[in-house]
């Protein structure tokens, strides 16, 4: 069942369109990430869903009921949407426990539930602290507990991990995922970090130029991006020219098997081909068949390495990105041979 549905949403600020035509379905119990570069309108979309802003056009429904649309505008306080903003936004004048109980009726504010909730987010026993006595990660945990306290129909997370350092981010991300699952909550996470989106969410919606360019499961998004621009946005991508034959495509990396893309009917002819960096093998030049080139740049990441290789013959071509596990022991400037493994994705050029 669809918990949140956004259809044809538009929003402009001072005549400048921010959201032009957003469609988004969020199934009940799922965690959907809205991924987009900064300035793509992610936060605006979230604020409209939360009820802090109103859409210029289109509709937002929550559990089947229209909350924003022609003739219906449910104010934020009546939507029961848990909101976890970027910096936590704890009320500085209230203790942790009072923050968590803020949205509850007066008689429930001192109940045991709050203690349980704090235990659940790993903040047990810290209920009497004030926000300024907490670390950034702790503040985020309290903000999440506060949002869950009102038993929301939907939880919105606005780049909640952005201000945390990398190690903490991974831990908290996993905790949040677990807590949302336990609560059976439907959640929407806004982020500009593709790693975060791919690793945390069930579904990822890519917001670009005011529309949802693609909404799919993380793996589908990575392996079957709707267009070359998306391919480059989600992960690293080599986009090479090719000519489509009957059963394979001819590229500088040789003939490669083709995967059909989203049921698109590809006719033979010139195409753009996506070869992911991990689809290319690299070896020292040894005279075997393949594309010869030279290493022009080398980035070592520990678990893997990214090598940029400039093809030797066609000097006008951009360097190809190759990912090797572990690392590559060849120095910059060494001649190498590249082999690609299919199947690859192709779009008409």
């Amino acid at each position: 069942m669809t918990q949140l549905a956004v259809t044809g949403l538009t929003k402009a600020f001072g005549g400048r369109p921010v959201l032009t035509d957003v469609d988004l379905d969020v199934p009940e119990g799922s965690l959907t990430a809205i991924l987009g570069p900064s300035g793509s309108g992610k936060t605006t979309l979230l604020r409209i869903i939360a009820g802090f802003e109103h859409a210029d056009g289109g509709m937002v429904t929550l559990g089947g009921a229209v909350v924003d649309g022609p003739g219906a505008r449910v104010p934020a306080e009546h939507r029961r949407i848990g909101y976890v903003p970027q910096e936590g936004c704890l009320f500085p004048h209230l203790t942790v426990a009072a923050n968590v109980g803020f949205g509850l009726p007066r008689r429930e504010r001192r109940s045991k539930d709050i203690g349980d909730l704090l235990d659940a987010v790993g903040m047990g026993g810290l209920g009497k602290r004030y926000p300024h006595q907490l670390s950034g990660g702790q503040q985020q945990r309290v903000a999440l507990a506060r949002a869950l306290a009102i038993k929301p129909s939907l939880v919105l997370l606005d780049e909640p991990f952005g201000s945390l350092d990398a190690n903490l981010r991974a831990t908290i991300r996993a905790d949040v995922r677990r807590l949302l699952n336990e609560a059976g909550a439907t959640a929407v996470l806004v982020t500009h970090d593709q790693d975060e989106a791919l690793s945390t969410a069930d579904r990822v919606a890519v917001l670009r130029s005011g529309i949802v360019a693609q909404c799919a499961a993380p793996m589908d998004l990575y392996t079957m991006p709707a267009d070359p621009e998306l391919a480059r946005f989600i992960g690293e991508a080599n986009l090479v020219d090719g000519v489509l034959g009957s059963d394979s495509v001819d590229t500088i990396l040789g003939p490669l098997p083709v995967q059909s893309c989203m049921g698109a009917n590809l006719s033979p002819g010139p195409v753009t081909v996506l070869v992911r960096p991990e689809q290319i093998d690299i070896a020292a030049k040894n005279g075997s068949r393949g594309l010869d080139g030279r290493i022009v740049a080398y980035g070592y990441h520990g678990h893997d390495a990214v090598v940029h290789v400039k093809p030797e013959q066609k000097s006008g071509l951009p360097a190809l990105i190759v990912r090797t596990l572990g690392g590559c022991e060849l120095p910059t400037g060494s001649p190498v041979t590249l082999h690609a493994r299919g199947p690859v994705l192709a779009w008409p050029r």
Partner: protein, 538 residues
């Protein structure tokens, strides 16, 4: 890779999808806030409207004849000469003191910090009385320069000290690392960072100079304010008072505009994270003793002389020729007016401050600017306009009544309240409101449980600021005080004018004592918030 063009893009292709800077916070127009602010703005504009109305009544030719006479030129020269000299001296003393206290290892900083600011609680006319009653040379221009500088330099010190505290210390370090010497770093970075605060302080000083009456009257120095007061309350020449008021308002507007121009578009920002890291204090070394001596001298002159002189006159006793209200009665009356005006102002400032802090768009700017017009209304002009209007056009309704006086205070000190309330509301950012609403709280509950609760310390500061100003106000009080009633300042004035210094002195001391408490509270508030914009008006 032409295929990116084949994307099914709806809407306007190529249109920028970035939200506007500052991300509009409120989708719906705060209609109630705007309406309330408009009402307040109308109230504030009242004296100015009345003044124009009265000028109209007096006849344009009569008024213009009165404006273009040699007396006006004389007054203009007197006023400008004094304003420029005192403002410059205050800028030097205030900035110097602030730098020594905030940036050097001056011994006893905590004590100096308080002693330096206390003179703010002493009314200018009491400082003037303190000096002029002891030494006869304290008269005219020379006397006015000494007295006014000592009375108002804290108006520069406070914002500049706050800006030194808030300034990014990293900028100085970067400048030094780029090979810029100590002195050049001071002029190019340190002073530049404090520029807005210095200008803001100077603006306040200049406005005080244009509005001051009591101190100049005691010193026998003639400015626009003393002349307007005389024309209106002694000679009952309304057209002349009108004409001079118009010139004074124009002069004030000129000062306001000049400050706006000088401030320019540059903003002092702190680009790094807001950590409470401070530069290691500059070692004074051999200069320690001379600097300490300067501070001691300043405190003796600004604080010791007025207070000491008042105590001296109490022990001298003197003629008891005049009868007046008792000290407790006057103190109660003063406190009553002060509390009423401060409460009224705090409430009046709320909608406009809310709009200024939260709102967007042009209406907000227009309304906020309109409140600055009040700054250009020296107390004597506001009081004159209100009293003459109620007497002659409103059939005497409200004339010389306590509500009219309180209203006049509220109008005069509105900008102060607005500054305080604005500073306090900025501690309750809008996203906390959004947060509270998403947790199911209605707007009223949000206002009470979050916004006002967070703003409370600042609201108290705004209240204190207005209360303090009312306690030490003389000019408008003299013109509008209900018959038979006396405040501390008017009773002091009555005794002082009669040369009954022994009787006047206790009133001065009580005034200082009452005003010192809110001053201290204020100092604490602005120290902690480190709000540079907090004290400077704009």
């Amino acid at each position: 890779m032409a295929s990116s063009q084949t994307l099914p893009r709806s809407g306007t292709p190529g249109a920028p999808a970035t939200p506007p800077a500052g991300r509009a916070r409120r989708a719906q127009r705060p209609v109630f806030l705007i309406a309330a602010s408009c009402l307040v703005a109308a109230l504030l504009a009242m004296p100015l409207v009345f003044l124009l109305f009265e000028a109209q009544g007096a006849g344009a030719s009569a008024v213009s004849h009165l404006i273009f006479r040699s007396l006006t030129a004389n007054l203009l020269w007197n006023t400008i000469k004094l304003t420029v000299v005192v403002t410059a001296l205050c800028a030097i003393i205030g900035t110097g003191a602030a730098w020594c206290i905030e940036r050097t290892n001056l011994p006893g900083k905590r004590v100096w910090e308080i002693l330096i600011v206390v003179p703010l609680a002493i009314p200018d006319f009491v400082v003037s009385f303190g000096w002029a009653s002891l030494w006869t040379w304290v008269q005219g221009f020379r006397g006015a320069v000494v007295v006014m500088t000592l009375a108002v330099y804290p108006l520069v010190y406070l914002p500049v000290a706050a800006s030194f505290r808030a300034a990014d210390p990293g900028q100085e370090e970067v400048a030094r690392s780029l090979g810029v010497g100590r002195f050049r770093t001071f002029t190019r970075i340190t002073l530049a960072q404090a520029r807005g605060a210095i200008l803001g302080g100077c603006l306040l000083v200049a406005m005080v100079m244009l509005a001051e009456y009591g101190a100049f009257e005691i010193l026998g120095y003639q400015t626009f304010t003393t002349e307007i007061f005389g024309e209106f309350s002694l000679s009952f020449s309304v057209p002349a008072a009108c004409a001079l008021s118009l010139v004074l308002v124009a002069l004030s507007l000129l000062v306001l505009g000049g400050e706006g121009l000088a401030r320019g578009r540059g903003r002092v920002s702190r680009s790094g994270p807001l950590v409470a890291r401070n530069l290691p204090p500059r070692r004074l070394g051999k200069a320690t003793l001379p600097v300490l001596a300067c501070f001691a001298l300043l405190v003796v002159l600004a604080l010791g002389v007025p207070v000491g002189s008042s105590i001296y006159w109490i022990f001298q006793g003197g003629t008891h020729a005049l009868s007046g209200v008792t000290l407790p009665t006057a103190a109660l009356t003063t406190a009553g007016y002060g509390i009423a005006a401060a409460a009224l102002d705090t409430v009046l400032a709320l909608p406009m401050a809310m709009l200024a802090v939260r709102g967007t768009g042009r209406i907000r700017h227009v309304l906020e600017r309109s409140s600055y017009l009040v700054l250009a209304m020296p107390g004597v002009v506001a009081a004159f306009a209100l009293s003459y209007f109620t007497e002659h056009y409103a059939n005497g309704f409200g004339y010389q009544s306590a509500p009219l006086l309180i209203l006049c205070y509220a109008i005069m000190f509105f900008p102060l309240a607005l500054v305080g309330v604005k500073a306090s509301l900025s501690r309750a950012p809008a996203n906390l409101d959004d947060m509270a609403r998403s947790l199911g709280q209605r707007r009223l509950a949000v206002l009470l449980r979050v916004t006002l609760r967070l703003a409370l310390p600042g609201l108290a500061a705004a209240f204190c600021l207005v209360f303090l100003s009312v306690v030490t106000e003389l000019t408008a009080t003299l013109l509008l005080i209900p018959t038979g009633a006396q405040t501390l300042s008017t009773q002091f004035w009555a005794y002082e004018s009669n040369l009954s210094y022994g009787q006047a002195a206790p009133f001065a001391l009580v005034m200082i004592a009452i005003a010192a408490v809110p001053s201290y509270v204020l100092g604490r508030f602005f120290n902690r918030s480190g709000n540079v914009e907090g004290i400077s008006i704009t």
